[in-house]
């Protein structure tokens, strides 16, 4: 059984647990197939370098999906994702660890919903935020 975080457990400034992922070229090919994004900069090194990149790069949309998995994992089975915004500020490369981090920025109620805003991001091995984002999730309350 997955653990569930509740609205009452959350406060502004609270940090989300750090998660490290290790995307591989194989995963980029899997993502190309599943998403239909076959732009060669994601799996053909010669092509990527011919466009001025140093190597094949991770799809922005895959980084978006990783942050989606990160925030929905934190929100738990009874949580739901309302909004997710990501910006691609820097390239990320396969075979390098990519770290997801985040913290809570706002805890509030809107109508019947218990909402939590978070800042989330992906970091490269140099500690640069290549993929900053924000997310809003609705969490269950212990009282209902």
């Amino acid at each position: 059984m997955e653990s569930q975080i509740f609205f009452e457990d959350v406060s502004e400034g609270m940090e989300l647990p750090v998660e490290v992922r290790n995307p591989t070229p194989r995963q980029l090919v899997q993502y190309a197939g599943a998403s239909g994004d076959f732009y060669e900069i994601h799996y053909d090194r010669n092509f990527a370098q011919s466009t001025g990149l140093k190597d094949i790069i991770i799809h922005g949309a895959l980084k978006n999906a990783m942050l989606g998995a990160y925030i929905t994992g934190w929100a738990g089975p009874q949580g739901s994702l309302c909004r997710l915004t990501v910006q691609y500020r820097g390239m990320d490369y396969p075979d390098e660890p990519i770290t997801a981090k985040g913290h809570v920025t706002r805890v509030y109620q809107e109508g019947q919903r218990n909402l939590v805003d978070c800042t989330v991001w992906l970091e490269n091995p140099e500690g640069q935020q290549t993929t900053p984002g924000t997310a809003t999730v609705a969490l269950p309350s212990r009282s209902n």
């Binding site: 997955e2 992922r21 995307p23 995963q27 899997q30 993502y31 197939g33 599943a34 998403s35 239909g36 994004d37 732009y39 466009t51 001025g52 799809h59 922005g60 949309a61 895959l62 978006n64 999906a65 990783m66 989606g68 998995a69 929905t72 994992g73 089975p77 009874q78 739901s80 994702l81 309302c82 909004r83 997710l84 915004t85 990501v86 910006q87 691609y88």
Partner: protein, 148 residues
């Protein structure tokens, strides 16, 4: 680096904003959801077997990226061949489930030109609205594309 002398005029900008794509539809397949969840490395059971909360299998948040070709036709020739994805802003209103037919329409929200480290760039913002077979908006995605 591009050496052409393209300029985005106010008129071109005005003619572009509000342009919509043709509607594109996709039937959501369970196997596709499984492959997508596997590709993004997300083992959430909501995507593989369903959970009591989701009431069956649902698609991961960015699954609708798999709908391709939702590009509004700009009323001028784009002089750049290189394309970078700038980011996305998703809003979620309802689940996407196997068997749903999702219809998407993209609309040009903004287009502008900028000089950056990679040379002259054309930056466009497209908002895609995704509806299910009941006409309910399940999600919107506002994405930024950079051409250079």
């Amino acid at each position: 680096m591009s050496t052409n002398s393209f300029t985005l005029t106010d008129e071109m900008r005005e003619q572009s904003i509000g342009v919509e794509s043709e509607p594109a539809s996709m039937v959501i397949e369970q196997g596709h959801i499984l492959r997508f969840a596997e590709a993004i490395g997300d083992d959430n059971p909501a995507y593989t077997v369903g959970t009591p909360e989701t009431g069956g299998i649902v698609a991961p948040p960015t699954f609708l990226r798999a709908m391709r070709g939702i590009r509004p036709e700009l009323p001028f020739e784009i002089p750049y061949s290189r394309l970078l994805d700038g980011g996305s802003d998703w809003e979620y209103f309802d689940h996407v489930r196997p068997g749903d037919t999702i219809t998407a329409v993209g609309r040009v929200e903004d287009i502008r030109e900028r000089a950056g480290s990679i040379g002259q760039m054309l930056i466009s913002t497209i908002k895609i609205t995704y509806r299910n077979q009941e006409g309910i908006v399940v999600a919107t995605q506002t994405s930024t594309s950079i051409r250079y």
